[in-house]
């Protein structure tokens, strides 16, 4: 395969990953690394470097659209970014020590967990939680537009959420993904942040988290321009198109198919990792 063919094929694959990621809301990053390692036989460290770059692009591109709706909370975002960026640095440094096949196995497990989480029904929240002392001190409580007026919410479980966010950042730095699954766990389950606020705020944070580990990857020489170029351009165009047509398509079946693909890729990553073929 010459460079031109390789570039076009990787671009097309990344385009589809970005499109499906945006349509299903599961993020394109999770299938990008398996796609590059399993089908294009790219070394997993190059794949992770390229994936991180594309995560920054999609997160920043989508955040611009979300901001206008008024759901995201920049205080929650900035406070938790302390945890995610520190975690991301740790993850990026660990990526250099952890053996390549162990990376593949961890990646596979995270894929299976994401698929499980995407099939689980969204937890139902109690609406009127009492204000938490720490959250109030940190000024994390806020409100968002709902129906005619504003709905206010009180954030809970700050220490648990902060620790989980550190873990989400570490996974993101280790595997080059947005870690949406762990972020949802931290913000929805531990901190009881309303769904619309947590998804938009988390999207905002993903770019900053990915930038924290991308710098380390770049300095270590894990970001290859020839590979990152088609990946970044493909995912960016795919996800921008995905957010545009999102309103017009039925996503229930798509989510089901995408989850099935994630499960198959997860099993493949674990299998190949165990066999030492990655």
């Amino acid at each position: 395969m010459n460079i031109l063919e390789f570039t076009l094929l990787v671009w097309a694959g990344s385009f589809v990953a970005g499109l499906l990621g945006a349509l299903t809301g599961l993020g394109g990053g999770v299938i990008l690394v398996p796609l590059l390692t399993l089908f294009f036989k790219v070394d997993i460290r190059y794949a992770i470097g390229a994936s991180l770059v594309s995560v920054i692009a999609t997160s920043s591109g989508a955040a611009a659209a979300y901001v206008k709706e008024g759901y995201s909370n920049i205080r929650i975002g900035m406070f938790l970014e302390i945890a995610t960026t520190l975690g991301a640095l740790l993850g990026a440094f660990l990526a250099a020590i952890v053996p390549v096949n162990a990376l593949a196995i961890i990646f596979g497990l995270v894929l299976l967990y994401s698929a499980y989480l995407s099939r689980k029904p969204r937890p139902h929240f109690e609406r009127h939680l009492p204000p938490d002392a720490l959250a109030t001190r940190l000024r994390l409580n806020g409100s968002f537009p709902e129906g005619e007026g504003l709905r206010s919410y009180n954030v809970q479980g700050v220490p648990a959420g902060f620790s989980l966010m550190f873990g989400a950042g570490a996974l993101s730095g280790l595997l080059g993904i947005g870690s949406g699954a762990v972020k949802v766990l931290a913000m929805d389950q531990a901190m009881k942040i309303p769904f619309k606020v947590s998804t938009t705020t988390s999207n905002f944070m993903i770019g900053v988290t990915a930038a924290a580990s991308a710098g380390v990857y770049l300095n270590r020489g894990y970001v290859d321009p020839g590979l990152a170029m088609p990946v970044m351009l493909g995912v960016l165009v795919g996800s921008l198109l995905g957010t545009r047509i999102l309103i017009r398509v039925e996503t229930r079946w798509l989510r089901l198919v995408f989850s099935a693909v994630i499960v198959i890729l997860g099993i493949q990553m674990i299998y190949q990792g165990l066999g030492g073929r990655i």
Binding site: D43, S60, A64, R75, A211, L218, P225, M229
Partner: protein, 130 residues
């Protein structure tokens, strides 16, 4: 959250949104320019990413990338675009420091400065000494 604070937060967020969009679009354009030159020059050489070699020094550090891009090496230009992309969230955080200072919110100014320092360390300092 007081009404004025909520309003200033909104204003900051909308500026941040535009900043992010501009950062992503301009870096994508730089990458695209580099891509055209790269494919025109190297399109028919064999592609091989099976073996991990790591990038040469010129494509690893900020200074090396800028120098490489200005000598119009195609891979250097692409890398410069990727560097702009990585700098976009950093610019966003730097802008938020100013935004929180405008609100006289000392606690959030310090939180944001911590995040900014971590990002700058990653981009500029993580290649040294490790």
């Amino acid at each position: 959250m007081s009404q004025t604070q909520a309003w200033t937060d909104r204003k900051i967020e909308s500026i941040v949104g535009n900043l992010l969009r501009a950062g992503v679009l301009s870096s994508a354009l730089i990458v695209l320019c580099g891509a055209v030159i790269y494919l025109a020059r190297h399109g028919f050489s064999p592609a091989d990413y099976r073996v991990f070699r790591g990038e040469p020094t010129g494509l690893k550090s900020v200074r090396g990338i800028v120098r490489d891009a200005f000598s119009l090496h195609s891979r250097g230009i692409i890398q410069l675009g990727l560097l702009c992309l990585m700098a976009t969230p950093v610019a966003r955080v730097a802008f938020s420091v100013w935004g929180f200072a405008e609100e006289h919110d000392r606690m959030y100014v310090s939180f944001t400065v911590v995040v900014l320092l971590i990002l700058l360390y990653s981009l500029l300092g993580s290649g040294l000494g490790f």
